[in-house]
Amino acid sequence: MEKKEQTQKQSEHTVGKRRGSRFLQRTMAFGFCGAVLLLVLISLIMPDRSFSEEENRVLSKQPKFGVTEVMNKEYMEGLESYTSDQFVFRDLWIKLKVQCDLLTGKRELNGVYLGKDKYLMQAISEPDQEHVKENIKGMNAFAARHQDLNINAMIVPNAAYVMQDYLPKGAPVRDQSKDMKEIQKQLDAGIGCIDVTKTLQKHVEEGMYYKTDHHWTSRAAAYAFNAAAVQLGIGGASGDYQRYTVTNEFSGTLSSKSGYHKAEDTIEVFEPEGVDVKYLVSDSDNQEQRPTAYDKKALKEKDKYQVFFGGNHAQVDITTTNDTTKRLLIFKDSYANCFVPFLIPYYNEIIMVDPRYYYDNVETLISGKHITDVLFLYNMDTFLTDTSIAGALAEE
């Protein structure tokens, strides 16, 4: 601890010693500069891409330069993500990274587990407790205001929970049955809870979730519909369906997110047999009425799950030739998109509202459309991280 000792110690390892022979030093100097410049040049020459098919996301463009943009750091952040997004051979780098991860025994890539049978499963997120509380409060207040309506909530558990046996051994997964119990406890008696966990677990081997996507399959939705029909007040539902395969080449969001592209999924569409109800669909992004719930164009695109209603819209209206008085309002996330086709024959009108994009007044909608039934349909992960339900349900 004396000064002398200290100076002596410093000289032991003051500066990094010379690292190599003349050949190595020169090779490293020229090699590094050459490699960096080469990659930079190619990146500059190659035209910017606006969308990455591989990752299924929009890539950053060159940011706008200005004093405001610099002061609030938008310019710097934009430039950093621009350089990284437009970096040359981006897709190849991603492949290399995934290979290295797999090589070191990693079984979780960007929050996606690599399960048995090439199943990709999203790790379940931590709930946003404050918003959950607020949303449930909003739902209870909504139910109290509308005691004349038949209100139900169906919260669908996620693949990582339902298909635990397919997860890498020991991978930690949130116990969604606990979450389910908690939600049931918090929701007032005015809201009926539909729990399809057991139904899905029973049929896991038939493919209840896509291997490459975070959504459930039409098959899962069919089982769930049969299990929920009575609670929804649908009597004599047809249990027989004609199944159509619409694509065999679905590579969903989880393969994009993980960079793992070893499997492809089949998307099926179910048509009930012996039901003769016609319907027209329109949505807030496309007012034109069409006689189908399916959007064929989506099959040519990357995200083929959008074949159901063409993806998410603030509002979707379905009017049918069934002259019942039952009119259903659904608050939902994308899990509903493949479920709603099963409901169509049993209502006079169905309105789907996606609270994430919906800014109109719900009360006006209910009285204007003479709504009789309400369904909240979410997957557990979205429901516990949602920040928009309470706002959409507000009276004002």
């Binding site: 690292r19 190595l24 030093q25 090699g31 350089t83 990274k97 070191t104 020991g170």
Partner: protein
């Protein structure tokens, strides 16, 4: 901006190097100052003002000290030195500790003092200590005052060590600021240092970090003894490779610009005692505290009671330097107490143990230290340590622990081996060998590190710098 990003390696760095090598020597410090200010502004543009203020005040103070000392007015010089040190510490205190102090006051006082938490200016803990070393050394007559504001500005703001050290003392680079040699061979050395650091950070620290993060969010009831130790091991490796990697990159960048910086780490996890550990860990910080706090307080040349007091002061401050929170202070004092025990109670006893036991003793204490360091509160630190010791957790081992063991094993072994000199020494021989195959093998290794690191950077989802907040 952090070094381990596509933007830094493929945009900022090439531009800086081209500008730097294009201009004649007398403008190189100016280029260095300007690009460093851009680097600094990148994270928070308004704080450039703070940086310029810091440069100005310490530059002027150096001239003032010289003026007084030339005229033999030592009392005035002393006051000037104290005032400048106080301003430096005042700025640091205001930005770093103000919120912490008010929070603690509010907990005691019957009323609440309102305050808004300020964003911490990047690297303020590092450059404040650098400027203080300058002023104090001028006062001590160890270095001459710098008369060129650009040279001085370049010293304070120099981007390689700006945000995470090493803490370069002015006396160490005084000569280099005026005159330094640049050569292709030195540049090549720099590249190797930089790539080594990049690999440490991107390939090992980030991956170890994601294991630690996953385990940290598990509840105590879901954490078995095995899982807790894996989590602690992962953090132990993360922080060393993160910080060590950053220091290597800083040294490498310095060499590319013609500078030689002091090494900041010397295989700390191979230490045989805690005393030894702190000679090897963050060397530039511990030697700063020794030089500017411990020795001025009297060091150990005062009575035993006083020298124990000195150690506790130094280690309390070391802890506080790492962050404005109680757990950092306790972390510092934890080491202070162990060092006192080693020095006054154990004395030479440790050295009589078998060498393996000395290593185990050290690494276990260090790992428990990191628990104090990474825990958000003292309570959670105690409960995590409890889990590690088998109290209150989910049994000895469970499937979750097995899962993390399996997914982190390969990297964990690479990290553990990489934190010792074993492989490194052999590789170093190859670097100096005359055998062309060994030489080419070295090039291939570096090229591999560069390629794979780039692949991970392109994918960067988890890329924090632990020392960014200090």
């Amino acid at each position: 901006m952090i070094f381990s990003s596509i933007f830094f390696v493929f945009a900022y760095l090439p531009i800086v190097l081209i500008l730097y090598y294009l201009v004649p020597f007398k403008f190189k410090n100016l280029v260095l100052l300007l690009v460093s200010l851009v680097f600094y502004a990148w994270g928070e543009p308004v704080y450039v003002v703070l940086m310029l203020f810091s440069i100005a005040i310490n530059f002027v103070s150096g001239l003032e000290l010289e003026y007084f000392m030339d005229r033999g007015e030592m009392r005035k010089a002393k006051y000037a030195c104290i005032v400048t040190a106080a301003i430096n510490l005042g700025v640091l205190g205001f930005y770093k500790y103000y919120g912490f102090v008010i929070e603690n006051l509010n907990a005691i006082l019957p009323f609440d003092i309102p305050y808004t938490k300020l964003a911490l200016p990047i690297g303020i803990s590092f450059y404040t200590f650098q400027t203080m070393s300058y002023v104090i050394d001028v006062y001590r007559g160890k270095v001459k005052a710098q008369h060129n504001p650009i040279t001085f500005g370049a010293y304070v703001s120099m981007f390689p060590q700006l945000i995470a050290g090493p803490i370069v003392r002015y006396s160490d680079v005084e000569q280099q600021l005026m005159k330094r040699t640049m050569s292709i061979r030195k540049f090549g050395d720099g590249v190797m240092w930089f790539l080594q650091g990049l690999g440490k950070k991107v390939l090992i620290a980030n991956n170890m970090g994601s294991i630690y993060e996953a385990i940290a969010v598990l509840g105590a009831s879901e954490t078995s003894v095995l899982t807790a130790w894996i989590g602690c091991f992962a953090y132990t490796m993360q922080i060393y490779f993160d910080f060590g990697g950053y220091s290597d990159m800083a040294i490498g960048l310095g060499k590319m610009l013609g500078f030689e910086f002091m090494e900041n780490f010397n295989y700390p996890y191979t230490a045989k005692s805690i005393t030894d550990f702190w000679r090897r860990w963050h060397i530039s910080l511990s030697s700063w505290f020794k030089e500017y706090v411990y020795i001025p307080l009297g060091g150990n040349r005062v009575g035993q009671a006083k020298s124990i007091r000195n150690l506790l002061i130094v280690w309390g401050l070391t802890g506080l330097w790492h962050g404005a929170a109680w757990n950092f202070i306790f972390w510092g004092l934890y080491y202070g107490i162990i060092l006192i025990i080693e020095k006054y109670i154990l004395k030479g006893a440790l050295e009589k143990l078998p060498s393996a036991l000395q290593h185990v003793y050290t690494i276990v204490l260090v790992m428990f230290g990191w628990v104090l360091f990474f825990s958000p509160s003292l309570g959670s630190a105690v409960s995590y340590m409890g889990t590690m010791l088998g109290i209150g957790g989910a049994g000895l081992a469970d499937l979750t622990g097995w899962y993390y063991l399996k997914s982190g094993l390969v990297l964990g072994i690479i990290a553990a081996v990489g934190s010792t000199p074993v492989v490194y020494r052999r590789f170093s021989k190859w670097e100096h060998s005359r055998n062309p195959y060994k030489q080419i093998a070295c090039v291939v290794v570096y090229a591999g590190i560069f390629l794979i690191s780039t692949a991970y950077l392109v994918n960067a989802t988890y890329n924090p710098f632990l020392y960014f907040r200090f």
